[in-house]
């Protein structure tokens, strides 16, 4: 088949990101040609500031080397400006006469600095700040000249000023408004910023209108203001805004309105022509930051690939100033109005200022200065429009999601040295991450996970990695929305998959994947286990449970160890055992020479280091039920001694625990589920850190939910108090069933509750009595007839050949 021809005009960040996304999903669809008028392959424009500040070199910031274009069979023309599009014959022409035919055309021409139309603007030494050439011109000027003036106190202007200062020049920033960064900061934060920058040696002239630039022998020598003041200048950098490059498109008759007008699929008025990046006007808005451009790129790629899915619906952006030593973050509407509330924390001496703007119980804007640790958290709350009343009290004190185990309790990336370990699981230091972000051009947490492994195991350091990304990328970093696709095999998110499984009554994985148009023939190790769980939890007794889509532990009903052996943990309901059971366990341990016998924290006994081929025989000899110590499902019900023996006990917690464990035995869930029952508020069974924690009191039982003792300790929250033993089963069962039906695969109860809110859970479990009973019934129905998987394997030995090793 002959490939279609795709021509890209503009070899910049948005254009090449689109090509990369396209190659990922449809590598062979197009023959690709790229024209760029700069002499370089695609580079990371936002890193020009660190280059100017001597923190990086041009080589460091190349994103796609010439070899990359060659490897992907992309024809690249550099130094080639396209000046004509012939839409009728589908041809583009470069200034030097080169031409190329297209079936589809992608315009990604970016924008250029706006140059004030004042006398003297065309003098030598007057430049914008946009590309490598401008950056080199500034570095060269600094070697010969003394006085630099930056017109414009926005993000770009301040980064330029900081860089020029580091290059050794005397720098004055001229700004028209009353305070710096008036589009990002309120007055208080801006004053604090100005003071810090003044301490670095920069000068500021605010509320100044530039009238003209004067020069001598063709080169600029001074800047004159409307009030008559004049200051010396050998270099003038104009950073007063950018203008989308749409002249080319307009000359070809494509509809433009302050940018190339595109619809939600990034298509222009000519259906063969798409546009992405700063050159477009989408719903009347042109963006000047990379995060929205990358979202556009992703959407555009799916349409170029003929998938016809995905819409770009605009972005909320956040910004950060990339000046080393200054922490500033801003997002959304930070001025507020009559119907908004503000929470403000201002520590002038400590140099910290935080302001959150709240409207209708949601964060709509934030300004942070001095301590931006929680910037991406606030931004996420803002983008996800999360109700905040439940966390309002702690909002100002931050997410506190860091300070987790595994990185020495560190919770501020900026306070860490390069040698300090960020990811305790994979041994990755801060320096390694920073280097990878800069040299490999990483933009997302996923990129960092893939390239460095940091954050890819237990995930407790993701918050730190986020901070490192945010400070390296400025506004280029957009925290991942929590509403993302299950994996690369589909564009549907978890909720959509669940909904479709329910609606179309998919009962096996192949049907589900075909029906939902999975991109891969049989998914991957991420989506298959999730999908399998969704099928069996939605259609109990009907859906086919696919063992090959289960993680090894659940497939063989034992827990794989690091040397490929397994552990065997029999159930001991409520942690109660008998001399007989213990004797059996001892005999089995002897017979199979089990290397270690250990009492677990879940009140039972673990036989560790068992060979796979011994598993079935051991289970037969043990004749005890599986403890599901390997399962995303019910693990243990930890109990304390309780009123039968304990002198403090008010309730028979041991029996309650046994009854719960028996009632919910064999239950699969999105993640592991742990219960505990204590007989009085002394809480010896540690009910406060369990998915469901029950505490006996004189007048009944208190039920707590969403506790977790892991990477990040989460204290369970009070759900309700009930009177009887049966109510404990019904309430906790209904809670768990709703979690089973609605949480995303691999969500622990706490993650799910954090997303939907405890109020929602209370509504379902407490207020809606009918609903509660029905949910509890559904759980009992799902568990009906469940059998001990070990006994089943013993019985049907012949059907489970995979336990047998073939010996040659």
């Amino acid at each position: 088949m002959k490939k279609m021809k795709l021509v890209v005009v503009g070899n910049g960040m948005a254009g090449m990101r689109t090509v990369e996304e396209l190659l990922k999903i449809a590598p062979d669809l197009y023959d690709i040609t790229v024209f760029g008028d700069e002499p370089y392959p695609n580079y990371n424009r936002i890193m020009l500031s660190p280059v100017l500040a001597n923190e990086q070199t041009i080589d460091d910031i190349i994103l796609n080397s010439r070899e990359w274009y060659a490897e992907n069979n992309i024809r690249l023309y550099t130094n080639a400006r396209i000046n004509k599009i012939d839409r009728k014959n589908r041809l583009v022409y470069a200034e030097d006469g080169t031409s190329a035919e297209y079936d589809r055309l992608l315009l990604a021409t970016g924008s250029r600095p706006f140059m004030l139309p004042i006398p003297g603007a065309d003098l030598e030494g007057v430049i914008g700040y946009r590309d490598i050439q401008d950056t080199n011109a500034m570095i060269d000027a600094a070697k010969v000249y003394k006085h630099a003036v930056v017109i414009g106190g926005g993000l770009l202007g301040l980064e330029a000023a900081n860089g020029l200062k580091i290059q050794g020049m005397d720098v004055t920033v001229v700004h028209r408004s009353e305070w710096l960064l008036e589009r990002q900061l309120d007055k208080t934060a801006a004053r604090m910023l100005q003071q810090s920058l003044e301490a670095k040696g920069l000068n500021f002239l605010l509320e100044k209108d530039t009238e003209q630039l004067t020069g001598k022998d063709g080169r600029v020598t001074a800047v004159r203001f409307k009030d008559g003041q004049e200051i010396p200048a050998d270099l003038v950098v104009m950073a007063v805004g950018i203008r989308p490059n749409f002249a080319l498109a307009e000359s070809a008759g494509i509809h433009c309105d302050r940018g190339i007008v595109v619809n939600d699929t990034m298509q222009t008025y000519d259906p063969r022509i798409y546009a992405v990046g700063e050159c477009v006007a989408h719903r009347g808005i042109s963006y000047g930051l990379v995060a929205p451009l990358f979202e556009m790129a992703k959407v555009c790629a799916t349409h170029l690939a003929n998938f016809g899915i995905g819409r770009y619906v605009g972005s909320v952006t956040s910004t950060k100033l990339k000046v080393t030593g200054i922490d500033l973050f801003s997002a959304g509407d930070f001025t507020g109005g009559e119907d908004t509330e503000e929470i403000v924390l201002h520590d002038a001496v400590g140099g910290v200022y935080k302001k959150l703007i709240i409207k209708d119980d949601k964060i709509i804007g934030s300004v942070l200065y001095g301590d931006t640790t929680d910037g991406s958290w606030y931004f996420q709350l803002l983008r996800d429009k999360k109700p905040i009343h439940e966390i309002r009290d702690h909002l100002m004190f931050g997410q506190d999601s860091l300070g987790n185990t595994g990185h020495q309790g560190q919770d501020k990336a900026s306070a860490m040295t390069d040698e300090m370990e960020v990811c305790g699981c994979n041994g990755v230091c801060k320096g390694t991450i920073v280097k990878a972000i800069k040299e490999k051009g990483l933009f997302t947490i996923d990129d960092v996970k893939k390239q460095t492994k940091a954050g890819s195991s237990c995930g407790s350091c993701v918050g730190l990695v986020e901070q490192i990304l945010a400070s390296a990328l400025g506004g280029g970093y957009a925290p991942p929305s929590t509403n993302k696709a299950v994996c690369g095999c589909t564009d549907l998110n978890h909720e959509e998959v669940r909904e479709q499984v329910r609606q179309h009554k998919y009962l096996n994985i192949p049907d589900a994947m075909t029906g939902m148009q999975w991109r891969t023939p049989n998914g991957c190790a991420t989506c298959r286990p999730a999908l399998n769980y969704y099928l069996i939890s939605t259609w109990p007794h009907e859906a086919v449970d696919d063992p090959q889509s289960r993680f090894i532990n659940e497939r063989v009903h034992a827990n794989i160890q690091k040397d490929g052996t397994y552990s065997v943990v029999p159930r001991m309901y409520g942690g109660v055992t008998t001399p007989n059971q213990l004797r059996k366990i001892a005999d089995v341990a002897d017979k199979y020479a089990v290397p270690m016998v250990k009492v677990t924290g879940g009140q039972r006994i673990d036989l560790l280091g068992v060979k796979k081929e011994d598993l079935v025989n051991m289970w037969a000899d043990l004749d005890m039920p599986s403890g599901y110590a390997y399962a995303k499902g019910i693990r243990t019900v930890k109990t304390c001694v309780g009123s039968e023996f304990c002198r403090f006990g008010t309730q028979d917690s041991t029996q309650m625990g046994i009854d719960i464990e028996k009632a919910f035995d064999h239950m699969w869930a999105p993640h592991k589920v742990k219960f505990a029952v204590s007989g009085c508020p002394r809480n010896c069974a540690e009910s406060g850190i369990k998915d469901v924690g029950i505490i006996g009191v004189d007048s009944g039982w208190e039920i707590y939910v969403g506790g977790n003792g892991g990477i990040k300790t989460e204290v369970a929250q009070f759900l309700c108090k009930v009177k009887s033993h049966d109510e404990v089963l019904e309430y906790s069962g209904a809670f768990i069933q709703i979690y089973r039906e609605e949480a995303r695969y691999l969500d622990r109860t706490v993650h799910w509750i954090n997303r939907v809110g405890l109020d929602y859970v209370k509504k379902r479990v407490i207020e809606d009595a009918e609903g509660r009973k029905a949910a509890y019934e559904r759980l009992l129905f799902a568990l009906q007839g469940a059998v001990n998987p070990w006994a089943e394997r013993v019985q049907k030995r012949d059907e489970h050949k995979e336990f047998e090793t073939i010996t040659l």
């Binding site: 893939k450 390239q451 049989n522 286990p529 063992p547 995979e802 040659l808």
Partner: protein, 102 residues
């Protein structure tokens, strides 16, 4: 010279699953894909030696059960950005039986 040795019937390897063979050349994992292609790799993940035979099989890859490295069944190469390689063995299917060249 090596020989073709009959190891197992094709239907005794689960689809998207594997069987473990213990041989003079060490442990070998034999995989069967959805479309009945069969591959054999050393049962040893290039990362920390995880038993690949126990991983989840999808397409023509297997995800290691220990830390989820993805290894190509075709050439034993770890998927980027991980780097490493596991030895492959030649296999063929004839009359419903799987033969291994060792």
């Amino acid at each position: 010279m090596s020989d073709w040795t009959k190891v197992v019937a094709l239907h005794d390897i689960p689809k998207l699953g594997s069987r473990l063979v213990r041989s003079a050349k060490g442990e070998i994992a034999i995989f069967r894909t959805e479309d009945d292609r069969v591959f054999a790799l050393h049962n040893n993940c290039p990362h920390k030696g995880g038993p690949l035979s126990q991983g989840i099989v999808y397409g023509d890859k297997v995800a290691c059960p220990l830390h989820n490295w993805r290894i190509s069944l075709v050439d034993g190469q770890a998927e980027e950005p991980d780097e490493g390689h596991t030895a492959c063995f030649a296999v063929k299917v004839e009359d419903g039986a799987v033969y291994l060249e060792i």
